[in-house]
């Protein structure tokens, strides 16, 4: 049962990824991206990471993809991209590089590494959200606070970048939404 589910979700994830890369229209790419992200969330559920599955769907599959679609709509780039390639050698070379990458990672993963002992201190005990929250607010409290600073910087940077250049120009309401 789990095996069948695994292969169905794996097909969803990889098919969605191929759709992102191969579809000529950016809007279709964004929708294929949703399929991949929801498949990843299903993988998280199968691996007992319920909190991350929920966060994945809320943050990635909804917020980030909506942001992508917003920008596509705002810029009007949803026309079909010409499949003719101005640099003819690049695509074959890219595919060869991808194949080399697969072989390289598979080769590296085939070794037996020295690490790999089970954790003694950070065991996954109790409910998933409980153990993640305990680690997040004790061991990883300092990085957690730094991400808050990062978020403020990102929001300010997005607003500054998205407003019209030029002194005293009014900020468009639509471009302010992009940064939110």
């Amino acid at each position: 049962m789990i095996a069948v589910m695994f292969f169905v979700v794996a097909a969803l994830v990889l098919g969605g990824a191929l759709g992102v890369v191969l579809s000529p229209n950016p809007v279709y790419s964004a929708l294929f991206l949703v399929a991949t992200l929801i498949g990843i969330a299903a993988f998280f559920l199968m691996e007992n990471a319920q909190l991350l599955a929920a966060v994945q769907i809320i943050v990635y599959a909804s917020a980030v993809v909506v942001l992508f679609l917003f920008v596509i709509m705002l810029l009007g780039v949803d026309r079909y991209e010409g499949l003719g390639d101005p640099r003819p050698l690049q695509r074959p070379v890219a595919v060869v590089v991808g194949i080399i990458l697969v072989l390289e990672i598979a080769l590296l993963a085939g070794h037996n590494w020295a690490t790999g002992t089970k954790s003694q201190v950070g065991k996954l005990h109790g409910a998933n959200i409980q153990s993640v929250a305990r680690a997040l607010f004790t061991t990883y409290l300092w990085p957690f606070e730094i991400t808050a600073i990062l978020f403020v910087a990102a929001v300010v940077g997005a607003v500054v970048l998205a407003r019209r250049s030029g002194r005293g120009a009014p900020v468009e309401s639509s471009s302010a939404e992009v940064g939110s």
Partner: protein, 101 residues
């Protein structure tokens, strides 16, 4: 058959490679950005798989931070794309060559 962690790692490997190859193939800046998201998700999947294999919650916490940083990256990256598109109407990465000598 039982699904071990290695199956998840193989899916993550394929997902990462599709994302990396797509980043090299596509010329539309937005689609290149989506390919980066694919690669990030592949790495997240390996983190969660290792968290389960090694029975350590640290892997899941790292994925949490990755999600946060990815969200910030999307906000800033899309703002940069919007700023570039305002200046010139080109839709491909080849048109952005101001630094060319």
């Amino acid at each position: 058959m039982t699904i071990t962690g290695n199956y998840y790692l193989i899916v993550a490997l394929l997902l990462f490679t599709i994302g990396a190859t797509g980043l090299l193939i596509r010329r539309n800046v937005l689609v290149m950005f989506m390919c980066i998201e694919l690669m990030l998700n592949a790495v997240n999947l390996t983190f969660v798989t290792f968290a389960k294999m090694l029975d350590d919650v640290g892997g899941q916490v790292i994925v949490f931070f990755t999600l946060v940083v990815a969200a910030a990256e999307v906000a800033v990256g899309l703002a940069i794309i919007v700023a570039i598109f305002r200046r010139r109407r080109g839709a491909t990465a080849d048109d952005i060559d101001l630094l060319r000598g």
